[in-house]
């Protein structure tokens, strides 16, 4: 009975961990147990009161044990049942048990440690939590390498999108300006980097300079694109930003044959019918190719550091660089939020008219929200361009804007932790779990299911319809619909949003009462 209760109490994270083990197998249980155990230890302090480290360790221990049991069972299932089912050799019972116990042990250990830290007195508790988190993030690449899980490339992608989601959270979450074309700024950051540090235009500046230029260019673009939207609100603003999001990739796609002539002289040339009079400014001998169209810019220069050398195929330096960018973004955005400017954003979001009557300059405040949001996507774009070393216009289309917006909304509008969580969930599901699920499912179908089905039509139907990759957008939409019904304020909402969406609106009650008394 007790064990059942234990398992149920850790059902959400336990199920995530078990799914991970089932899909990835091997030492992945140990890594995910370590990560989720740490998270669980922290979360136990949110639901239960932890007075001192000892009770914390007890609570964390039970929570970690619940998670560990999930991992252990999943390890055994995976090693002994799932592997042969999907046509791969089964592993011996002992090995599967070892994998499972490693997961269990690390889950308990990390949960105990983290929960015990939550029992410390206040400043020490915060510091210990931060240090643990920093430790986890810093040694993750090594853990990933030792466990051979191969997650690090996806984690780098997650972090790129984390910067984007944090940036989008500024206009959307803080200032209440719905921006549906945020990928445009990502594209501008990436293309600025591409143009300034590749052989394409013959400008090969250092990445460490270019990343700042990219952020600045994106910020300026944010102001330019934000200016026409100033008088607009709500739906109208969203439509205009949507338009910008569509325009920018098309512009990059088409800036391939630029020839600019000085307008007055060219007008004169047409009038006098003497084309040689036109003064050519750009692209005179042959049309100037700025963005290289659909083929994009490739290769783009990579950053280099004194000791590390040029960043290459090893993911380690990239991981630490993008981690640094994420931490930097969070730090800066936190400062923006808790400031005079952050309050002005919140006031604009709450009531633009009253804010303006209270002395807030609507124009500069809104433009700064757009510009600051764009700045961080500029950083993300610069990193992305250097990391992938090739950029194409099609990478920055509308769906990217939508996915980033979904991260912000899913996690919790206006709350950085929530936004990060939303980003991790969507990106991990999309880039890590779904492809692997497709692979495992295909293995199972090919070895265990399809050979037993005689009808070729049915066989065809099963192979095409049971492909998670094909169902990607469907699943995504399904999650969003459920989310909006069950928890519209997001996973970790800001206190303000929660209040907005869940407390009865006094005004609504008043009017209802009025109607009743009148009737």
């Amino acid at each position: 009975m007790n064990i059942l209760k234990l398992i149920r109490s850790s059902s959400v994270l336990g199920a995530v961990g078990a799914l991970t083990v089932l899909l990835f197998g091997g030492w992945s249980g140990a890594v995910i147990g370590w990560l989720l155990g740490t998270g669980m230890g922290y979360m136990s302090s949110q639901t239960k009161l932890i007075a001192n480290p000892k009770t914390g360790a007890q609570i964390g221990g039970t929570a970690g044990l619940g998670l560990g049991i999930w991992l252990l069972v999943a390890s055994l299932l995976e090693g002994l049942l799932l592997l042969p089912l999907s046509g791969r050799p089964a592993i011996p019972f002992g090995t599967a048990l070892l994998f499972g116990l490693a997961g269990l042990g690390l889950a308990v250990l990390s949960a105990v440690l983290m929960a015990a830290f939550q029992g410390l007195a206040n400043p020490a508790q915060k510091q210990a939590t931060r240090l643990t988190l920093a430790f986890v993030l810093l040694i993750f690449p090594f853990a990933d390498q030792i466990a051979q899980t191969g997650w690090i490339a996806t984690v780098i992608q997650i972090q790129i999108f984390a910067i984007l989601a944090l940036g989008l959270n500024i206009p959307v979450g803080y200032a209440g300006l719905l921006d549906l074309g945020y990928a445009a700024f990502f594209a501008i950051g990436a293309y600025t980097t591409g143009m300034l540090s590749s052989a394409h235009l013959g400008i090969e500046w250092n990445f460490w300079i270019v990343i700042w230029i990219a952020a600045a260019v994106a910020a300026i673009a944010g102001i330019i694109l934000g200016a026409p939207t100033l008088p607009l609100r709500g739906d109208y603003l969203a439509i205009v930003t949507l338009g910008f999001g569509e325009i920018i990739p098309i512009v990059f796609r088409n800036l391939t044959e630029i020839k600019i002539t000085e307008p007055i002289s060219s007008l004169l040339a047409t009038l006098l019918n003497r084309p040689e009079l036109a003064i050519c400014l750009v692209g005179c001998t042959e049309p100037f190719n700025l963005t290289n169209g659909e083929t994009g810019i490739n290769p783009i220069g990579r950053p280099s550091l004194p000791i590390v050398g040029t960043f290459g195929t090893s993911p380690f330096p990239w991981y630490y660089l993008v981690l640094l960018l994420v931490v930097f973004s969070m730090f800066m955005i936190g400062r923006l939020r808790d400031s005079r400017l952050g309050r002005a954003w919140a006031a604009i979001r709450e009531d633009e008219l009253a804010a303006s009557a209270m002395g807030i300059n609507r124009v500069s405040t809104k433009l700064l929200a757009f510009a600051m949001g764009a700045t961080f996507s500029g950083f993300a774009g610069a990193f992305y361009a250097a990391y992938i070393t090739a950029i194409f216009p099609s990478v920055f289309d509308f769906s990217v804007s939508v996915i980033i917006l979904c991260m912000v909304i899913l996690g919790g509008l206006g709350n950085m932790t929530g936004v990060l969580l939303g980003c991790i969930i969507i990106m991990a599901a999309d880039r890590l779990y779904l492809p692997k699920l497709a692979e495992v499912l295909k293995g199972i179908l090919n070895t265990s299911v399809l050979p037993n089905i005689s009808s070729p039509a049915l066989r065809d139907f099963i192979t095409t319809s049971l492909d998670p990759i094909q169902m990607r957008l469907f699943l995504f939409g399904l999650v969003l619909v459920i989310m909006m019904i069950v928890r519209p304020e997001g996973l970790v909402p800001s206190a303000q949003r929660r209040a907005e969406l869940h407390e009865p609106d006094p005004a609504a009650n008043d009017s209802l009462a009025d109607v009743r008394s009148a009737g």
Partner: protein
Amino acid sequence: MSLLEARQLTMRFGGLVAVNAVDLTLEPGMIASLIGPNGAGKTTFFNMLSGLYVPSSGQLFFEDREITGTEPHQLTRYGIVRTFQNIRLFGNMTVLENVLVGRHCRMQTGLLGTLLRPPKVMAEEAAARRAAFSLLDYVGLGTERAQESAKNLPYGDQRRLEIARALASNPKVLLLDEPTAGMNPNETADLTRFIYRIRDELDLTVMLIEHDMKVVMDISDRVSVMEYGIKIAQGTPDEVRANPRVIEAYLGKDEDSPAVESPAPEPLNGRVESLKDTSTEG
């Protein structure tokens, strides 16, 4: 010298003339009231004074400087600040944050200061907080509820908070749009005393739109009366009370239910009676 002056101020919405060539001056330190039946154009007039509407014609002067068409946030910086008829607090922000937003225009921190947080910025922020706390105390809200959401305050306290938010910008002129709407007699009396107090202690000039005739007659140094967008009378409370045009414009007709449209014409005597009632009460 006049502090705030409106000359021939007019506001048209399409064919409707909401405010028609109104002249009005505010001298420093006075408490002036603007009264009139519903739809007389009082709030429209306030909206022009506070910059939310740009007048169709006419001019506005503040400390002998023309301010016609100035943006509302700029007017707040000059020292004209207002409250709203239907309270417009930032409901999901805390009480403290609401007051700090009011302080916004008296703070200097720019983008760079926000990001780098030099000691000067931190000092400014701390000073703003201290000022906000003392203002909360001053308006009688106390500091214990500073971290509560503004919308969770009781109605009367929301009115106080709105005034605190307005005062945070160190105004010279405070425009109050129906400050006692929805208050019970006790709260109304409190607020009346409070308006006196801030006028005297903070060197304010106060102008209010008010439907409660008792408040108007008690508090005002001067009363202006509007009807159909036109200023029909102006003077001390006693002068206005005796003015036949004002009596004709059914002054005080809606003291009981300010939200209801003007009732069907009733005998003049009845209106004068109700006017006398209110004046003797106070």
